[in-house]
């Protein structure tokens, strides 16, 4: 029988006649024997984070025990993130007490800035994680070996924001790879200007992507080129905890879609069934858009058009949940052209990643689209190379993708150990990152 948990005892403490059974040791001498005994009764923690440097957390926070299964833990730390107006991330750390600690709950926040490096972010996260874990650690005997340092602050000046919440970002990427008979070059660039406040959101973006592949075959050289341009804008005004209204705008060009230049303006309105303030954990948003599009085509379309002005309406419903048992994200979108109601499309998309039972996790990622609105397709047939290299959109009535998987783990529940020898690859395990 293991030594009873301090947390367990603290819980029972609420009852009238409680006899303490050997927890809350007196401050022990820091002998290694003793401290390793204390470590055995340390809090069992499950870190539920898609985007954390877990090895670093485990080397920096050594006064808890890490477990690989959420049900074994006394505290489940659910870390969710949202983008901030400044281009950084808001990390929400929800400390969910379980088993002997189920009376304890806490929420802490950490903000990273766009200019922070990975090292700064992992240090920041470790700090807030330590502070949040302390309520749980305080219930275990190892608490007597924790010290809190406080450095008295010097008077600091809080800066006023001379940029009025505007954030600008300019990016360029080039990627080049090849061998003797194959080469691929990709270049993209983008610019964005965003202003995000609680009352409104304004996003402007410009991006250019080009890609070129070159193959040496016996019949000669085959090249495949694709490129696209895109300028987009979004303005949203907040109307309380559930409603928002605004407009999307886009100008784009794409060889794949046969569009030389397409301009769309779309006023829109959104209703969130959950309050927006809970967005990091749950959202159910219904968005209605009314699109007005002018398109100029690269090649004559299947209906013989070189340019076209069309109106289209769309309604989408999106559910996002991040719970202890996993992630659920479902989306369905229906759109139709007003000049011909038979020209419609329905898109569905789902991400379900569940930690079902001890050690068993399951994910299903999938999308299915019914497509009856490819009015922009080029009139001619795609060439053999365009077909194999997927350089042109082809006529279709539907398309789908799916990724399904499971993982079942059993054995030791502890994951305290970091062993970097011979490299740290091949550890196995499954993780799904979502932004």
């Amino acid at each position: 029988m293991r030594r009873p948990w301090a947390c367990a005892s603290a819980l029972i403490l609420g009852l009238a006649f409680f006899r303490l059974s050997g927890l809350a040791q007196t401050p022990p001498p820091a002998g290694s024997q003793n401290i390793d005994e204390l470590k055995k009764t340390a809090v069992k923690v499950f870190i539920d984070c898609d985007d954390c440097d877990l090895d670093f957390i485990k080397t920096e926070i050594t006064f808890v025990n890490y477990v690989r299964d959420r049900l074994e833990a006394q505290v489940h730390v659910l870390i969710t993130t949202m983008a901030t107006g400044g281009g950084g991330r808001e990390y929400t750390l929800t400390f969910i007490g379980q088993n002997e600690c189920r009376d304890l709950q806490d929420v802490q926040k950490y903000f990273s800035s766009k200019t922070d490096t990975d090292d700064e972010i992992r240090h920041g996260l470790v700090k807030i994680l330590k502070l949040g874990l302390m309520s749980f650690v305080a219930r275990t005997p190892i608490a007597c070996r924790i010290a809190v340092d406080y450095t008295r602050p010097e008077a600091g000046a809080a800066g006023s924001d001379r940029w009025h919440a505007w954030v600008f970002s300019l990016s360029g990427d080039g990627s080049f790879s090849g061998e003797e008979s194959y080469r691929r070059n990709m270049i993209d660039g983008s610019f964005s200007a965003n202003r995000v406040t609680p009352g409104s959101k304004l996003k402007l973006g410009l991006s250019v992507d080009t890609s070129r592949q070159r193959f040496v075959t016996e019949d000669g050289i085959v090249t495949g080129t694709s490129s696209s341009y895109n300028a987009s804008g979004l303005f949203v005004k907040s109307l309380g905890e559930h409603w928002s209204a605004g407009a999307f705008a886009e100008a784009m060009s794409s060889i794949y879609s046969n569009v030389d230049i397409g301009v769309t303006v779309a006023p829109a309105v959104e209703y969130n069934f959950f309050p927006y303030s809970q967005s990091t954990r749950r959202q159910l948003r219904a968005l209605y858009k009314f699109n007005l599009t002018y398109a100029d085509y690269r090649e004559e379309t299947i209906t013989g058009k070189l340019r076209q002005f069309v109106a289209q309406q769309s309604l989408s419903l999106a559910l996002d949940l991040r719970e202890k048992f996993g992630t659920v994200s479902l989306e369905v979108e229906a759109q139709e052209y007003l000049h011909d109601l038979a020209k419609y499309r329905v898109n569905t998309f789902s991400v379900v990643n569940l930690r079902l039972y001890k050690g068993l996790s399951l994910y299903v990622i999938g999308g299915y689209s019914w497509i009856h609105d490819q009015i922009y397709l080029m009139g001619r047939e795609a060439t053999y190379e365009e077909l194999l290299l997927r350089l042109r959109e082809l006529p279709m009535s539907d398309n789908y993708f799916a990724a399904i998987g499971f993982q079942f783990q059993f054995g030791s529940i502890f994951t305290n150990v970091i062993n970097p020898r011979f490299g740290s690859t091949g550890g196995g395990g499954l993780s799904i990152h979502m932004d």
Partner: protein, 434 residues
């Protein structure tokens, strides 16, 4: 044609920008913040401990302001003896959040030792109150001046583990996609058993993958492509102090992409890290030597007229990784050759850098170059037009490279912490790693 489209594109863009600047003008500007920073407020705590030396407690809990009344407090801390009178009993410490911290409560206990003097008891209780109050302080500006230290070093293996650190894992994955004229499916499955302790690392895995794609060529015919792979590997590494490790690899592999029907290899290896392994999350410089014997058989006769052969190969690998506040960098150099003919060799250089040049200016570079002189498995049959375009067979080459460079410059109000999820946050990215 190109020039025309560019002009149109710019015109459209200018129109869009004009539209948005008008919209932006209507956007609500929040009132300017009052000038002059107020001093960062401390957590206000009402300490309810009859008979305690409050002045001494102020020194013991320096990051809070002890207030004399409950009305002004954000947290109430009540300390009461419980059970038999001291020295046998213990002290119950009740933390209750008030106001904005309503509902954030905790109950702790402190058991004094038999020999403890009243002053030691006070210090012990203060230490526990310190720790208990951190959850509230973490939500206030004072958090940035606080740090938590663990006074000891512990062994990560100090746990009661009936499985003795073995973890077993089964995993199966399917990836499917398609449209009217195209379909693709791939499957990946694996079974693994791993054991990680500071002294010994064991990794074993058996895996298989299948991948098919299907193209409708439009003229009533279709083209189907298939690739298959399966294998198993095992790795054992013993720790020999803070700098040395020794171990070995066992591998079995079969792959249609590389014309390998079956390849079995055993390779002992030795590694030296210039830095102690305990610093591995911050920096590593690992030098790994490996010598391996391989028995390989091929699907098709190779360009060297072999259908099977036994090969001895050695390799040396230098890997440097560093993570620092300015960013991170890694550089890897690997060289290998076969013993039956040292002309069959390969040199591989790989590096990556994420570097914050100046404030919002970030540079990211990834690159690799391989000089290839050891394509022993290359099929004499050559590759078809489709094999080449769909990259389903390894091709003869003397090198391969890949470089990517990214530069990002952000300026403006980059410290803004406002979250506004309305109309979505602009797309999702999902990555699955196995």
């Amino acid at each position: 044609m190109t020039i025309r489209s560019t002009c149109r594109f710019e015109a459209a863009l200018a129109g869009l920008l004009a539209l948005f600047l008008t919209l932006a003008g209507n956007a609500q500007v929040p009132p300017p913040k009052p000038p002059g920073p107020p001093p960062p407020p401390l957590l206000r705590v009402f300490l309810d401990w009859p008979g305690a030396d409050i002045e001494a407690m102020k020194t013991d809990i320096p990051f809070v302001a002890l207030v004399p009344s409950l009305d002004a407090a954000q947290v109430r801390v009540a300390v009461r003896p419980e059970g038999p009178p001291p020295p046998e009993g213990q002290l119950r410490i009740e933390l209750s959040g008030l106001g904005e911290f309503q509902g954030q409560n905790n109950v702790l206990t402190y058991t004094p030792g038999r020999e403890e003097k009243p002053e030691d008891v006070r210090k012990g209780v203060a230490g526990l109150i310190d720790i208990g109050l951190l959850r509230y302080a973490a939500k206030m500006p004072v958090a940035k001046d606080l740090s938590v230290k663990f006074l000891d070093q512990t062994k990560p293996t100090s746990v009661n583990d009936k499985w003795n650190f073995w973890v077993f894992s089964l995993s199966g994955n399917a990836f499917l996609s398609g449209e009217t004229q195209y379909r693709s499916q791939s499957y990946y499955a694996s079974i693994s058993a791993n054991r990680t302790t500071p002294a010994l690392k064991i990794r074993t895995q058996v895996y298989g993958n299948w991948s098919d794609s299907w193209f409708d060529l439009g003229d009533g015919t279709a083209y189907t492509s298939k690739t298959r792979g399966r294998g198993a590997y095992g790795l054992v590494v013993w720790s020999l102090g803070q700098h040395w490790s020794a171990g070995g690899y066992l591998e079995a592999e079969s792959s249609t992409y590389s014309n390998t029907k079956m390849s079995l290899s055993a390779a002992p290896a030795l590694e030296y890290d210039l830095f102690p392994y305990s610093e591995s999350t911050k920096r590593q410089f690992r030098i790994l030597y490996r010598i391996g014997l391989t028995r390989a058989s091929y699907y098709a006769e190779t360009v060297y007229f072999k259908t099977a052969e036994t090969l001895l190969q050695e390799s040396l690998n230098f890997a440097y990784e560093v993570v620092r506040p300015w960013g991170k960098a890694s550089l890897q150099l690997q060289g290998s050759h076969f013993f039956h003919n040292v002309k069959f060799n390969r040199v591989e250089l790989e590096g990556s850098l994420e570097f914050r040049v100046w404030r919002g200016l970030n540079l990211e570079i990834n690159g690799s170059y391989t000089r290839i002189r050891d394509q022993l498995a290359l099929s004499a049959e050559g590759a078809s037009f489709e094999d080449i375009l769909l990259r389903q067979k390894q091709l003869a080459t003397g090198y391969d490279y890949s470089v990517s460079v990214g530069l990002n410059f952000s300026f403006g109000s980059t410290k803004s912490n406002v979250v506004n999820p309305r109309f979505g946050t602009g797309g999702r990215s999902i990555s699955i790693s196995m």
